[in-house]
């Protein structure tokens, strides 16, 4: 058997909010152990598409999908698919850092705990590992029992990343993870993403084109719900095929 290098295969995929078609007829492959960036102007459906990959859109009761999304060959919108297990394997980090109002430790231990891991030594190990992987351990190792909300914005965002990592996900979805952060925290997160890419697949939605150019291997450009162009980040930014893509990345609209 040839191993499929695509972890996600999106096929003829549409998302509707009531009558509004937010994502239109998208076919896209996402390669494992790579960073794929989705760019495009506000309201182009990029966040909606991202949120459909771990079915966070299910929470919006008025949304409806057509078409298929395969995660490692499994149709995630099939009625037998376990959404809970899907979200464990495909984690998500949001635009605004959203730690729970509890300690750093409890934040990271949240996922393992709801899966029934209660042994302290095991939890300690998971929490420490996740914080190390999120490059936060050095800063918080003496205050893991202090409130997660007492950290700085950038630290909070890394805490949220650690919280996702504690579940050992195969994919992490980032929804504009640095748009609420200062440049230094942003740089930290970008370095972290490149480090994490060695062990997991990353899909990132970003408003910041330089960010996409700096860190991603592949870039998808969306406009009005449609996928306009997808390819190597270098190709997209240096030699775009589509006129809209060129206009967007050169800042003529957006």
């Amino acid at each position: 058997m040839v191993e499929n290098k695509n972890i996600f295969e999106i096929r003829d995929f549409n998302i509707y909010y009531v009558d509004f078609k937010a994502v239109s007829n998208i076919t896209l492959d996402i390669e494992a152990y790579r960073i794929t960036a989705i760019i495009g102007p506000s309201g182009c459906g990029k966040s909606t598409l991202l949120r459909s990959l771990n079915r966070m859109n299910d929470l919006i009761t008025t949304s409806r999908v057509e078409g298929k999304v395969f995660f490692k060959g499994i149709d995630i919108y099939h009625r037998d698919t376990d959404v809970i297990e899907l979200r464990k394997r495909v984690g998500m980090v949001f635009q605004k850092p959203n730690p729970f109002p509890s300690s750093v430790y409890e934040n990271v231990a949240y996922g393992p705990r709801i899966r029934g891991i209660n042994k302290k030594s095991l939890l300690d190990e998971i929490v420490e590992n996740a914080l190390i992987r999120a490059d936060l351990w050095k800063e918080v190792k003496d205050k893991v029992h202090e409130s997660g909300m007492s950290l700085s914005g950038g630290q909070m965002q890394r805490l949220c990343i650690a919280r996702s990592l504690a579940q050992e996900p195969e994919v992490l979805l980032f929804d504009e993870p640095t748009s609420a952060l200062d440049p230094i925290s942003t740089a930290n997160i970008e370095n972290l993403l490149q480090e994490l890419q060695k062990t997991i697949t990353i899909v990132i939605v970003t408003h910041n084109m330089q960010q996409a150019a700096r860190i991603s291997n592949y870039t998808a450009f969306m406009y009005l719900g449609e996928l306009i162009e997808f390819g190597d980040t270098d190709t997209i930014f240096v030699n775009p095929h589509h006129k809209l893509t060129e206009e967007y990345i050169t800042g003529r609209f957006g």
Partner: protein, 299 residues
């Protein structure tokens, strides 16, 4: 031309001044009226304290009444109120919080939700004596609990239920959506999210509602008068099915139906003072909790 301009400027200023006068009048009126509430509270407090404080003593709150309630203390009365209120809260808080979870997290807009909401609002507006009659008909007679601690607590629970539901629902609704989103993204189920994220975050608000509800319940007379409170019992109730004495009803009894109404005035005021201190204490606790919770809110 210049002159005219100057004139209009002056008249503008004049008008402003008049406006300010009016403004000032209403400001002071509102200020005065605003203090009325505080003044009334202090008059009541002063009146009750002035008449009741000299009887308050360690003996007064630790001894039972003696000599046809003309002497002695009010120990069983205090215990009665505490038992009634505590049992009422044990019954009503779980029901109220579960209803609030249903309303805030599970219910979908529609006829059912509208009916439930309407019922809760209406229930909140029913006079307390009606709850007393309801308790008499249902708990005392139909369920055959008799005049008892259990019947009284259940009646009070029914009365305070709408309040507990609405304060809990409010507290649950203030939990930021981003917390729930984060929990779902970690692969939590809806129930896990409610239990581990929503309820702990809403807990201070729920507690505050509970404490203020407790304060309200402990001062109620009408609901317990047909369901739990006795004219006199020799001691504290020994089971759920015994009647008891309670602070608000004790005041009512001493002030209206004893044979020594004048003689027992100090005891009446002492009992009233005890009740007020108890209620104000609980209110104060609720206020402190609420302000601490506001300060803690970093989101």
């Amino acid at each position: 031309m210049r002159n005219k301009e100057k004139n209009s400027e002056t008249s503008d200023l004049m008008r402003k001044k008049k406006f300010n006068l009016k403004e000032g009048f209403f400001l002071s009126l509102i200020r005065t009226l605003g203090f009325t509430g505080a003044v009334i509270l202090f008059i009541i407090l002063f009146f009750v304290a002035y008449n009741g404080i000299h009887i308050l003593s360690w003996e007064f709150i630790t001894q039972p009444p003696v000599d046809a309630m003309t002497k002695g203390g009010i120990f069983p009365v205090i215990v009665g109120t505490i038992l009634l209120t505590a049992l009422c809260m044990i019954i009503v808080v779980p029901i109220g919080v579960i209803t609030a979870i249903f309303l805030a997290e599970y219910s979908k807009p529609g006829v059912l939700l509208k009916t439930v909401m309407m019922s809760i609002y209406t229930l909140a507006g029913v006079p307390s004596v009606v709850f007393g009659l309801f308790g008499l008909a249902v708990f005392v007679v139909a369920f055959n609990f008799g005049m008892s601690l259990l019947a009284g607590s259940l009646t009070l629970a029914v009365m305070i239920l709408p309040y507990i539901i609405s304060t809990s629902e409010e507290a649950i609704k203030t939990v930021p959506y981003s917390f729930k989103e984060a929990s779902f993204a970690c692969g939590a189920t809806k129930w896990q999210t409610i239990r581990k994220v929503v309820l702990p975050t809403a807990m201070p608000g729920i507690l505050t509602g509970g404490i203020l509800g407790t304060a309200k319940v402990s001062g109620e007379t009408a609901p317990i008068m047909f369901t739990a409170a006795a004219f006199f019992t020799p001691g504290v109730p020994r089971s759920l099915f015994e009647p008891l004495m309670a602070l608000p009803y004790h005041i009512y009894v001493l002030a209206t139906s004893g044979t020594h109404i004048e003689e027992t005035r100090p005891i009446q005021y002492g009992t009233a003072l005890t009740l007020i201190v108890l209620v104000l204490g609980m209110n104060l606790l609720g206020i402190i909790l609420r302000s601490r919770q506001r300060k803690k809110k970093a989101w």
